[in-house]
């Protein structure tokens, strides 16, 4: 063989690479085994919903399927497809009867809820679904052995729940109750089935949001007819499990297959009692953590719905056109102040920091993925418009410098170096860099950034070992203003991370918590919002969360039903309404 000079070889190699690239650019998207749907601007497919078909959507793998234990959105998302409670919230966040026949009868003192269930309800295996199952559900959430992460929704409301949940004591003062003692505590929990279709719940005091709470997953039923639940005792609770064959369901779907780290497949529940019946043969939830991977699978036709990759949002919007949609998510992101660390205990310092942040510019840096705000409580949940506090805490460099000077640090002189802790992800670090730059440019102060992984950061926040924390905030558990404040702003509150302590806030929160006059109550929460925002009591909010999705034109029920109740996929709170037009 003739020896080729190296440069000829290099030329050949370059030609080969160019040929592959050109070939791929001209390649037919529909070749091979995968089914491709072209991206780009398309109008939604007109047409009737068909009966049948499979929908494959991006999901996140659940950490637990036990509704009495779960708190994570990925758990709640699938749990609401498989089970439903006595009530369910509609798109306007108003509870409606689901397994219940009507709204609860509430005693005049607000402490007793009598709920009549629909007759003839069945689990997916054909066994009756009774009031005893719902009684068992509430008690299971209050059981310390289950260690429910959402027990707090019943803790102060349902009689006996707090005592039962605290039965094992604390790490410093552990208790070892006997099985009989645990049984006695369980029996005192205020949930009793009067007969097969009547459940009576007793509260410590009237709680205006209790019907909303009954829509949540901690109140879902337990299939007490299954042997492992029938034989359990308060000290030895049965595992909920994840084996599809070991579970029964009362929701619109049944879990037919679960592959660890891969997917969950759902098929319609023949005994589903809801008004809207599923039209799909199958829903496949593919567990994909990275959105760029999901977007490639969406392009390749392997997914019918996926999260949009917001790190490249402008390009995604341009490529996909009408297949892209965004919806506000009931969450707020804020800069968290540790008010026990001087000089963050001074309102003027907190104001200066807040007024140095250009929220619109920050959102532009993040690709327009979110909704800038100055309010803690979003409008969707009864709060004011996002710019309601622009004058008080919004971007204003002049006021910011002035406040810093009033605090005793003119032009940043003598201001101690603070540290911002932040999760070690590209997006959150970009936010931190933006704040660092803003504080330097506007206020001439130095703030360092300390990236940490999630558990370390959470531990530091929990122990108060931080000055500032980026992308803290709140994600809603249930759509009522009380969920946005309780525990987070009252002095000594369990999740009062910034150490906010304001007597006026405490007094107003106490009034609002058990005010049975709904209009008055909501107004009181709005006033709490006003106080904690204008006084920057622990936080300065900067954007409301939003979800960005891609949905194929032939899919129905996702975009239309997307609401503040979405957990993972658009419209996943009413997944029975999902369907296809071809």
């Amino acid at each position: 063989m003739t020896l080729l000079k190296p440069w000829r070889f290099l030329l050949l190699a370059l030609l080969a690479v160019a040929a592959v690239a050109a070939f791929s650019a001209c390649g037919d998207d529909d070749s091979g085994g995968a089914t491709n749907t072209p991206g780009g601007a398309t109008t939604p497919a007109a047409g009737q919903r068909i009966k049948g078909g499979t929908l494959t959507v991006q999901g996140l793998e659940f950490k637990s399927l036990d509704p009495h234990y779960s708190a994570f959105p990925q758990d709640v998302s699938i749990e609401r497809m498989l089970w439903r409670g006595l009530y369910m919230m509609n798109k306007d966040n108003v509870p409606q009867p689901m397994m219940a026949a009507s709204m609860p009868q509430i005693s005049t003192d607000g402490k007793t809820y009598t709920i009549k269930m629909k007759s003839g309800l069945k689990w997916s295996d054909g066994q009756p679904l009774t009031a005893k199952d719902f009684e068992a559900g509430i008690k299971r959430t209050c059981n310390p052995a289950v260690a429910s992460q959402e027990e707090f929704v019943f803790d102060q409301s349902v009689a006996g729940c707090a005592d039962f949940f605290a039965a094992l004591g604390t790490a410093d003062a552990p208790k070892t109750p006997t099985p009989a003692e645990l049984k006695a505590l369980e029996d005192k929990v205020g949930a009793k089935a009067q007969d097969d279709t009547t459940l009576v719940i007793t509260l410590n005091q009237g709680q205006p949001t209790f019907t909303i709470i009954l829509s949540m997953w901690p109140a879902f039923a337990v299939p007490t007819h299954l042997s492992r639940f029938a034989s359990q005792t308060p000290d030895k609770t049965a595992d909920w499990g994840v084996d599809p064959k070991g579970l029964v369901y009362n929701g619109p779907y049944i879990l037919s297959e679960y592959k660890l780290q891969d997917s969950a497949t759902l098929v319609p529940n023949p005994n589903w009692a809801g008004e809207i019946k599923p039209t799909l043969d199958k829903v496949v939830l593919k567990f994909i953590e990275k959105n760029d991977v999901a977007d490639n699978a969406y392009r390749n036709g392997e997914l019918d719905e996926a999260y949009a990759d917001i790190s490249n949002l402008a390009a995604v919007k341009s490529e996909f056109g009408a297949e892209y949609f965004q919806h506000a998510y009931p969450g707020v992101r804020a800069l968290l102040f540790q008010m026990k660390h001087p000089p963050l205990d001074k309102l003027e310092v907190r104001l200066a920091l807040s007024q140095a942040i250009d929220r619109d510019q920050l959102n532009a840096v993040l690709g327009g993925a979110y909704l800038p705000t100055t309010s803690w409580l979003p409008e969707d949940v009864g709060g004011p418009p996002p710019n309601a506090f622009q004058d008080q805490i919004g971007f204003n460099p002049t006021k910011a410098k002035d406040n810093l000077s009033k605090a005793g640090f003119p032009n940043g002189q003598g201001f101690p170096k603070l540290t911002m802790i932040v999760r070690d992800t590209p997006e959150t670090q970009a936010q931190a860099a933006f704040f660092q730059n803003s504080f330097k440019t506007v206020l001439n102060i130095d703030v360092s950034i300390e990236p940490l992984d999630s558990p370390t950061r959470s531990a530091r926040i929990g122990s108060g070992d931080f000055d500032l924390s980026v992308r803290s905030g709140w994600l809603q558990d249930y759509p009522d203003p009380e969920n946005w404040f309780k525990g987070a702003f009252d002095t000594g509150g369990a999740i009062n991370l910034g150490n906010c302590s304001d007597p006026e806030v405490d007094a107003l929160m106490k009034k609002a918590a058990f005010n049975t006059n709904d209009t008055e109550r909501r107004d009181q929460w709005k006033q709490v919002n006003n106080l904690i925002v204008t006084r920057l009591c622990g936080y300065t909010p900067y954007y409301n969360e939003a979800n960005s999705w891609l949905v194929k034109p032939y899919v129905v029920g996702i975009k239309e039903n997307s609401s503040a109740q979405d957990q993972i996929a658009g419209g996943d709170w009413i997944a029975e309404a999902w369907g296809r037009t071809k």
Partner: protein, 306 residues
């Protein structure tokens, strides 16, 4: 040889104990626990969670409990999934082992073939192609290779799938195999080339040719076999790395393997799964090295163990 093998297996016991102890200590030294979340849980809930998983007990007691369970064949429970660690590893490893095994075969076949062609065509086109592949394969990170493959062969051409793994379905096998196997293939190619070049200069090769042996016999019977000893040294660790999972490949192709699960366990502080998976990995590596040592003796009769 039998005695040697038995001694090596017995030595694994203290080795694995040391691995488990170091892992346990490091795990608890890292800040943050399994229930430290973005949304802080009320203290009562954390207390009950810690009690449920024995995390409220002193470290010494937790250490003892772990080894007591291990002695009974129980690797513990995953805090996050509440499932036995053994089940999680078994399910994940089925997939990881398939992917790793196929990638290993790909790496061996491609690597040895390219390395051999390179050596036999020293300073000719075949050598340049082999060296180019070996250099590119070593230099490019797997996520770059994967992105390149996915964009061209899945998104543009639609030949292969982006998601998942299914043994026997080439649509799902090709891209993850190439992604995972390219770096080891490149490394094996370079090592094979260097080793072959060295062996080809040996006197016994000249003698074999002088005896009138066909060239293919010289290459296959004398050259390749003797050139494989250095290659075998790296094959064991390569095999162990491939079959214990690649977080990057499994994440990019959304493959439900052990690698992805292990890294997630570290970030989640899922102590049960971290301990179980680490022990599992250590066992695989130890056995892989033992098998390599045995293969040395097979390939080179001069090597004998006592």
């Amino acid at each position: 040889m039998t005695g040697y093998v038995i001694r090596r297996i017995l030595w694994m016991v203290p080795l694995l104990w040391a691995v488990a102890t170091v892992t346990f200590l490091l795990m608890h030294a890292v800040p943050g626990g399994p229930f430290d979340q973005e949304k802080k849980l009320p203290p009562g809930i954390v207390a009950n969670l810690n009690a449920k998983y024995n995390l409220d007990k002193p470290l010494v007691e937790q250490y003892g409990l772990f080894f007591w369970d291990l002695a009974h064949g129980d690797l513990g429970t995953s805090f996050r999934t509440e499932r036995p660690v053994t089940d999680l590893i078994k399910e994940g490893w089925q997939v990881t082992a398939q992917l790793g095994g196929v990638a290993f075969l790909y790496a061996l076949v491609v690597g040895i073939t390219l390395g051999t062609i390179s050596a036999l065509n020293h300073n000719k086109l075949g050598d340049y192609v082999g060296v180019f592949f070996a250099t590119a394969g070593t230099a490019m990170p797997s996520f770059v290779i994967a992105t390149f493959l996915v964009i061209i062969f899945s998104v543009k051409l639609g030949w292969f799938d982006v998601l998942g793994w299914e043994f026997g379905n080439y649509h799902k096998m090709v891209l993850p195999t190439i992604t995972l196997g390219t770096l080891p293939a490149a490394y094996i190619a370079r090592l094979t080339r260097a080793s072959m070049l060295e062996v080809l200069t040996q006197d016994y090769i000249r003698t074999a040719r002088a005896k009138g042996l066909a060239e293919w016999a010289v290459i296959v019977r004398h050259t390749i076999k003797n050139a494989m000893v250095p290659v075998l040294t790296v094959v064991g660790p390569i095999f162990a790395v491939l079959v214990t999972g690649s977080f990057i490949t499994e994440t990019i192709f959304s493959i439900p393997g052990v690698g992805r699960r292990f890294v997630a366990a570290v970030f989640d502080r899922d102590y049960g799964l971290i301990m179980g998976t680490t022990l599992f990995y250590a066992t695989i590596v130890a056995f892989s090295n033992l098998i390599v040592d045995i293969l040395y003796a097979v390939v080179d009769p001069r090597i004998r163990y006592s």
